[in-house]
Amino acid sequence: MSNKYSVRKRSHRKWVAGLTLLLSFMLVLSGCGVGKDGQGGSSGAGGKVTLKMMHLWPEGSSAQQSKLVTQIIDQYQKDHPNVVIQQEVLENEQYKNKLKVLSASNELPDIGITWAAGFMEPYVKGGLFTPMDDLLQGSKLKDKFVPGTTDAYALDGKTYALPIELNITPIYYNKAIFQKYNLKVPATFDEFKQVVKTLVDHGVAPIALGNKDRWTGSLWYMYLADRIAGSETLKKAIDGSGSFDDPGLIQAASEIQTLVDMNAFNKGFNGLSNDEGKSEFMNDKAAMYLMATWELPNFTTNPEIPQAFKDQIGFFKFPMVAGGKGDENSWVGGPGVGLFVSENSKVKAEAKAFVEYFVEKWGEQSVTQAGVIPATKVDTSKEKLPKLYVDLLNGLNEASNITLFADVQMKPNAAQVHLNMIQALFGKAVTPQQFADQHKAAIEKGN
C-alpha cells in the first residue's frame, strides 16, 4: 500500500509541470483565435458582400416587427443581388448583454441596434460606432426626421445612430370605467386627484402600475417634475448643470407619495412587473395606465385582444398642475432604438447604404405594418390608420418638447440610482428630500 502511494507522489511534480505547459499552450492558441476572425462581414469572392445585422425582434415576441425587418431585407437583397444580409435575433436583455460581450472582444456586427444617450456613450467613447452625419445630411434622409429625435444620438456634435422609433407616453384610460362613475377626462392635476379619489371610493384601482421594473414609476415622476418645475429645470438637473434640490422637483417627489397615500396605484405595485401591472388594466381592473406609444397595437390592431376592450380605450395628456411651469404639450418619451454601423466593419459603405434604405422603408411602413411610430415624419393623411394613432400622431406634431426617459438620459450608474430611488420613493422608504440628495450625489459622481 505505502509503496504504491510513494510512486504516485514522485510522479506528482512532473504531472503538474506537464499540465501547466499544456494549459499555457491552450491559452496561447485560443488567444490567437480571437480577434483575427473578428468583424462579422467580409467581402468574399465574386463581389458578394455579407452584412451582419443584429436586432431584438424575435418572431415569437415581436412578430410584426420581425416580419417587417425580413420584408425590408428581402426587398433590399432583391434590388442589390450582391448583398447578403444575415440576421441575428435576440431578446431585449440578452441583446444588451451580447452587445456588451461582443464589443469587449471587438466583434460587433456590421449593423446593430442601440439605445440613445447614456446607453450609447461608452460605445461611442470606445470608438465602436461610426458617425452617421453623412446619411443625415444626405439626399434621402435630410429633414425626414421629427425635429429633435436625432439629438439623443449625438455626442460631441456627431450623430452615431439613426433612430427608428419615437415614443411618447400618454395616459390611457378605460372609457367604460370612467363612464360608469361619471368621470371626465381630467385637465388639471386637482381634477385628476378627484378622479383617483372617486375610483378608490368605489373600490376600483385607479392606476395600473408594475413598479418592480422601476422605469414605469419613473414615468410618473418625470411627468410631475415636468409639469411642476418645467422641462428645462428637469433637463438641467439630469445633466448636472442644475440640481435636484429645486423646490419644484422636490414637490414632484412628494406628489408621488401623496398619490401612493391615496391608494392611486394597484395593490402591491412595487412587487409587480410591468406586464403584471399592465394586465390589471387589460382586465378592466384598473382605470388608467401611463405607458408609451409602443402599447398602441394592443389597443388598436392586435388581433389577440378583444375588439370590445380596444373600443373602450382612450388617452389623455398628462394633466397640468396649478401654478406649475409645465406645458401641456410637453411629453415624456423619446426615440426608442436606433441603428448603428460598426466603426470596425469591413463593409462600412455597404452597411451605411443599407441603414439609409432601412430607415426610409421603415418610416413608410412601420405604423401600418408593425404599429410602431417611426422617428421619421409620418403623413397621416396618406394611410388609413386607427383613430388612436391619428390622434396621437397629431399630438406629436403639436409637441412643444419631448423629455427623454430619465434612465436613458442618465449615465448607467446614475440611472440605477434613479431607478432604485423611484422604487424607494413609491415604497415610502425615502423622503422627497432624501430622494433629491441621492440623485444629486449620483449625478455629481458622473458615471
Binding site: 485560443s30 395593490k267 403584471e276
Partner: protein
Amino acid sequence: MEKVMSNKLVIALYVLPSLLLLFAVIYVPIVLTGYYGLNQWNGIGPMTFVGLDNYQHLFTDAAFWQSAWHSLLLALFSGISLIGYLVVAMILSGKIKGANLLRKIYLIPMLLSSVAIAQLWLKMYHPTNGVLNSLLASVGVHNPPEWLANPSLVLLALFIPIIWQYAGFYILIYYAGLKNIPETLMEAARIDGASAWQIATRIKLPLLREVINVTIILSIVGSLKYFDLIYVMTDGGPNGASEVMASYMYHQAFRSFDFGYGSATAFALLLICLVATWVIRKVTATSDTIQYS
C-alpha cells in the same frame, strides 16, 4: 485493468481533457475576475488600473453588506431547514405505508427549473388574485399583505420557495445515506431493547454524520451564492430589500456597467464562500470515525 490504469499516459488521457476544461472555464476566469477587480472598467474600452480601490470601497459599501446580511440570513435558514429535511428522510426511510409515493412527491420540485418555480410562486404571491391572498381573503383577512412589495416581508416570502425547491434534493441525499446503514445494526439494537428514538439518535445520526457535514457545506455555500429565484421574482427589490450578494454583483456589472466593481464583488463572494467552507469543515470535523460494523 490494474496494469492499464498504472500507465501514466493512459491516466493522463482520461483526466486531462476535463481538467483542462475546468481550468479554462473555471480557474482562469476566477483569476481574471480577481484582476478585473483591480481595475476601473465599464466593460467596453480600456481598463484603468486602480489597485485595491474597488475592494476598499466594497468594505465600506453599506449596500453590499446589506446584501451580504441577506445572503447570510438565507444560509442560516437553509441550514436550519436541513433538520426538517433530515426528519422527513428518517420517516421516509422507515417502513411506513406510501413512503415510495411520498418520496416522489418531495422530489418533484427539484425537477422544475428555477424560473418555472419563480413564475409559480409569483402567481401564489400576487397581491390581489394570488392563491395565498385569495385564501387569506376568504378566511376574512381584510387587508392581506403585499408579499413581494413589502420590504419587511419580501425576504421571508423568497426563502419559502427556495427551501421548498431544495427539499427533494437533500431528502434524497439523506434517504440514500440512511438506506446505506446496514439493517443488521438496527435489528441488533431492537433486540437489545432500543426505542425508535434511541435508534435514530444513537445509530442513524452518528453513522450519517459524514453525509450531514457535506449537506451543511452544500446548503450554506449554495445559499451564499444564491441568485436565480431572487433575480426572477424580485430582482433584488423593492429598493434592495431582497438583494443578495450575487444579485448585487450582477447589478453592479450589468446594470451600472461597473465591471471592475462587479468583479471585485464577485471575488469577495468567492472568498466569503471559501472561508465559510473552511469554517464549516473545522467546526464539523470529526477526529474519530464511528464504525459499528
